[in-house]
Amino acid sequence: MHFDTKLKRNKRWLLTTALTIAAAVSFISVGPNHGPNSAIAAEAQSNGHGNGNGHGNNNDPADQVKTESPIKHVIILIGENRGLDHTFGIYKPKGRGETISNLLSKGIVNEDGTSGPNFKLSQQFAVSPQPAYYIGAPDNAKTPYSAGSLMPQPNTAGTPSAQSDTGAPFKSVAEASVETDISSDDTVLLTTGASGLPNNVTDTRIPNAGKIANGLFPLQGPNIDDDDYTGDTTHRYFTAFQQQDCSMANATKDNPTGCLNDLFPFVMDTYSASNKSEGNSMGFYNAEKGQASVLKKLADRFTLSDNFHQSVLGGTGANHFLLGTGDAGFWSDGKGHATVPPSSIANPTPKTGTVNQYTVDGNFTACGDTSQPGIQPIVSYLKALPYKVNVNCQPGHYYMVNNVNPGYLPNGALSGGTNLPPSPVRTIGDALMEKHITWAYYGGAYNDAVALSNAAVAANPTNPDLTAAALADPAHALGVAYCQICNPFQYATSIMADPKTRAEHVKDTSDLLTAIKNNTLPSVSFGKPDGLLDGHPQSSKVDLYEAYVQNILAALDANPRLKAETAVFVTWDEAGGYYDSGFIQPIDFFGDGPRIPLLIVSPYSTGGKINHTYADHASVLKFVERNWKLEPLTSRSRDNLPNPKARKDNAYIPANMPAIADLFDAFDFHGRPNNLTYAN
C-alpha cells in the first residue's frame, strides 16, 4: 500500500506549524535582546571580535579566543548522500538578483519537473565492452539510451517494504521515540515512507518507472515524495570517476576539465554482478513544489553555495576523513609506517567476458604507482589538465578510497581485523588542541555505541563484534546506528588512544544540545546524525535529516546570545552517487567530486544569497584555520590550496586552479548581523 501523500503533507504542515509556533515563542521570550537591531547584535558588531574580552557571555571560554570574524562558534552538520541538483535542482533563489546553477537554470528540467528544452544535457549513455578500466569512454563506444533501449530503471533496492515494530519506519510513534535526537513533533517521520513494494524490483511509485527512456526523473508523484524511503545508489571511488566520464578531448571553455557526467546508470548497471542500484542515480527532488521544504526555507533566508563539492570521489568514509584531515587515510602498521593491506586492493579492470564488471571492487589503492590497476588512466588525465595538479600519492602508500572502519572502536579499544590501523594523519582536532581551542565531534547514538563496544571487547577482545553485541544487548542496540566511518577523529591515534582526550572531544548528539543550552559549546563542533536520521536514501529520508538540523537550530534559537556568534554549516558527506550537472575541478587523485549543498546559516549570512565560489570539504578546514588563526594541517593537506580568483566570465571556475574557498566570502561580516529566527 502506498503512503497517502495528502496525509504526509498534512503531517508536514503540522510539523512546520509547530516549529513556527515554537520559534515564535522562543523569539518572543528573548524580548528586546533579540532581533535584527538587538543589543547583542550591535555588541557583536562593535566588539571587534578579536580583543579577547568576549561579548555575549563572559562565561563562554570560546569568547576569550581571538577570531578573525565575529564568529566564535562554528557547528558543521553533515548529512548523508544528497547532491546539489538532486536536492536543489529545481530551486529559485530568493535574494534580490541572485542566480543559481541548477537543472532549472540550465533548462534541463522545467519548474514542474518535466523535461526542459535542454533535457539532452543530462542524457546518459551505455558503453560497449572495453579491455581496460577507463574514466573517459571513447566516443565511438557510447550509445545513448532510448525508447528502444531503455536506461536502467529506478529500483527499490533495499528500501523498507513495510512498517516494523523494531526498525524504521516503525509501526507507531511510541516505538519510533527510541530516537531522541529530533523533536518529538517530528518522530512521526520515523513511521512513514515504506514502499509497499518488494526489495530489488522496479520502483513503480516513481512516475513512468519501467518506461523511462533516458535521463533525469522526479521523485515526486501521487505515490512518492520526499517523505518516502527510496533505493540507494552505489558510490565508490572507481565507479564515481567512471560515471563522470572525464577526458580532455571533451574540454571546452566553460567545461575546462572535460567531465560529461553521462555514465551514471550505466556504471551502476555493469560494475558489479550483485549491485541493484540501476537507475536510481537520476532521481531528483523539486524544492519549488514542496520537497525538501526545511532546507529550502533555510536557503530562502540564509546563504546556499551552488559550487560546494564532495572532496573525494566515492563514499562516506573517505569524505569524512578528508573533512577532518584535508587528506586521505592509508594502510599502515599502526605506528605511522605505510604497509601493504592484507586484502581489498582495488582492481577495476573489467573481468573477461563482462561489459564492465570490476575484477576486485576493493577499498585501497596504491595510486603512487601507475602500474597498479586503474591508476594510469586517472593520472594521465590529471596530468593533461590545463593547470598543474599534484596527484598527492606517496609511493608505497595504499590509500583508503572506500569505506573501511577505523582502527579504534567508539570506546577507544583497538578494533583489529581488516579495519584501518590506527592512523597517524594529523587532524583539525590536533591543530585546535595545540592552540587550546575547544572542539568536539558529536555523533548520534555514540553513547550506545560505547556501551556496545565495551560489551564487544569483553566478549571477544581480539575480534570485537558490535553487531553481535547489539543482539546481546538490545537496550543499547541503537548504538549500531552510530556511524564510525563518519568520525574522522575515530581513526586518529592522537585522539582515540588517550581516554581523557577521547572523552573531551568525542561525544553524543545529546551532548551537543546540552552544550548549546548550557553555554558550553566548543569553538568548533562537528555534528553527525545517527543512521536513522542522516538522510541517506534507503535507510533514512531527506526530511529526517531536516528534522535533525531543525532540532539543533531550535536549540540555538533558544539561546540567542550564543546564536548571535555562531555559524552553522549544513552540508553532506557526498552526493551519494546522484547525478549532478555542475562543473568539477579535479584537485588531486582523490577528488573533487560532484556538488553537494552547503547552507551557511548565521546572522552574517542572511538574505537568500547564493555563493558561487568553488569550495569543497577542505574549505571548512580553511574557514576554521582562518577564523582561529591556524596553519594548514600538513604540507600535503588540501587546505594549503589558495582561495579561488574569480574568472570574469564564469564565477564557478577558478582562474587559478586548483583553488578552494575558505568560505569567508559567504558571510557579510561588515554589515549588520541579522538574528533571524532559524525555525521560521
Binding site: E80, N81, A157, G158, T159, P160, S164, D165, T166, G167, A168, K171, S172, A174, E175, A176, S177, V178, D232, G315, T316, G317, S344, D361, N363, N402, N403, V404, N405, G417, T418, A455, A458, A459, T467, A470, L471, A472, D473, P474, A475, H476, A477, L478, V480, A481, Y482, C483, Q484, I485, C486, D530, G531, L532, D534, H536, Q538, S539, S540, D573
Partner: protein, 253 residues
C-alpha cells in the same frame, strides 16, 4: 568445601515458595498425597499460611549500591523490587527503562515505557543474571539458568559454586559462595538464608554490589508486569535497516 557444578542444560525447577510452584512441589511429595484426602482441609489452611508467610518474607525492595575497585565511596546503582521469583531492577546504567525478571520461567525483559516496547534483556545488564532468588544449597542453578537466556540459548559454559561458609554482612548472617560463570568470571556472593537472596556480590573486576536499605513489605504486582499493548523489540530488524546505510561497513568487503 563443597563444589557444585551445574550443567548448562539443567532445567530449573520451580522455586516452590509462592504460586503454583509451591503447590507443584508439594504434589510431588508422597506423604502429602497419601494423607491428602483425610487432611486436605487442614493441609490447605496450613499450606496457605506457610505460603502467605513465605510470600511476605520474599517481598521486599532495596537500594543497589556499587563500589568500584579501589574506590572508597559507594555509588547508587539503582533500585530492586522483589516479589517471590519476580524481580524489577531500575538502574541508571540504562536509565530509559527497567528490567523485569521472572526467575521461575525463566525470562528477563527490558521495558521502555516511553516507547511502549519491551525486549529480551539478554546481556544489557549483568544484574539481571545475578540478582535472582537462589537455592541456598546451589545458587549456581539459578545463575546458570539466567545465563542461558542471556545468550539466547546458544552454547554457554557451566557455572560452578563453592560454598565458603557463614559470615556477617551488614549485620545479616549470610552464606558465602565463590562462584564462577562463563561470562561473569569468578565472583564472591553472600546470600541471606532467610530471603534466599544474594545481598552482597564482589564481581570479577573487584566491584562490590550490595543491597542496602532492604524494606520487607508487599510489592504491587504491576511493578513486575509488562503493560498491555507493549510490543516486543528485536534488534535484528534495526540492524537490517542500518545495513542499508553507509553507517554499515561490510566486514567482508
Amino acid at each position: 568445601m563443597r563444589v557444585i557444578k551445574v550443567s548448562q542444560k539443567v532445567p530449573i525447577k520451580p522455586c516452590g515458595l509462592v504460586g503454583t510452584g509451591f503447590l507443584d512441589d508439594y504434589r510431588d511429595i508422597d506423604v502429602i498425597r497419601d494423607f491428602a484426602r483425610a487432611a486436605s482441609l487442614a493441609a490447605a489452611f496450613f499450606g496457605l499460611a506457610v505460603l502467605s508467610m513465605a510470600a511476605r518474607a520474599q517481598q521486599f525492595s532495596a537500594d543497589i549500591v556499587r563500589t568500584p575497585t579501589g574506590v572508597q565511596a559507594e555509588a547508587a546503582a539503582g533500585k530492586i523490587y522483589v516479589s517471590g521469583n519476580k524481580v524489577r531492577i531500575e538502574t541508571p546504567d540504562v536509565s530509559d527503562g527497567y528490567f523485569v525478571v521472572d526467575a521461575r520461567v525463566p525470562h528477563s525483559y527490558f521495558v521502555r515505557p516511553d516507547q511502549h516496547v519491551f525486549m529480551d534483556s539478554r546481556q544489557s545488564s549483568q544484574l539481571t543474571q545475578i540478582l535472582v532468588p537462589v537455592d541456598l544449597d546451589n545458587p549456581c542453578r539459578q545463575w546458570q539458568a539466567m545465563s542461558i537466556i542471556a545468550v539466547a540459548n546458544s552454547p554457554n559454559g557451566a557455572w560452578t559454586c563453592q560454598r565458603v561458609g557463614h559470615s556477617t554482612v551488614g549485620g545479616l548472617d549470610t552464606i558465602e559462595y565463590r562462584a564462577s560463570g562463563p561470562k561473569a568470571g569468578v565472583m564472591r556472593s553472600w546470600i541471606d538464608p532467610r530471603l534466599k537472596w544474594p545481598v552482597r556480590l564482589i564481581m570479577a573486576d573487584g566491584t562490590a554490589v550490595d543491597l542496602k536499605n532492604i524494606q520487607e513489605q508487599p510489592q504491587p504486582a504491576s511493578l513486575f508486569e509488562i503493560p498491555p499493548g507493549y510490543r516486543k523489540f528485536d534488534p535484528k530488524a534495526l540492524l537490517e535497516r542500518i545495513k542499508q546505510s553507509d553507517v554499515w561497513v561490510d566486514p567482508q568487503q
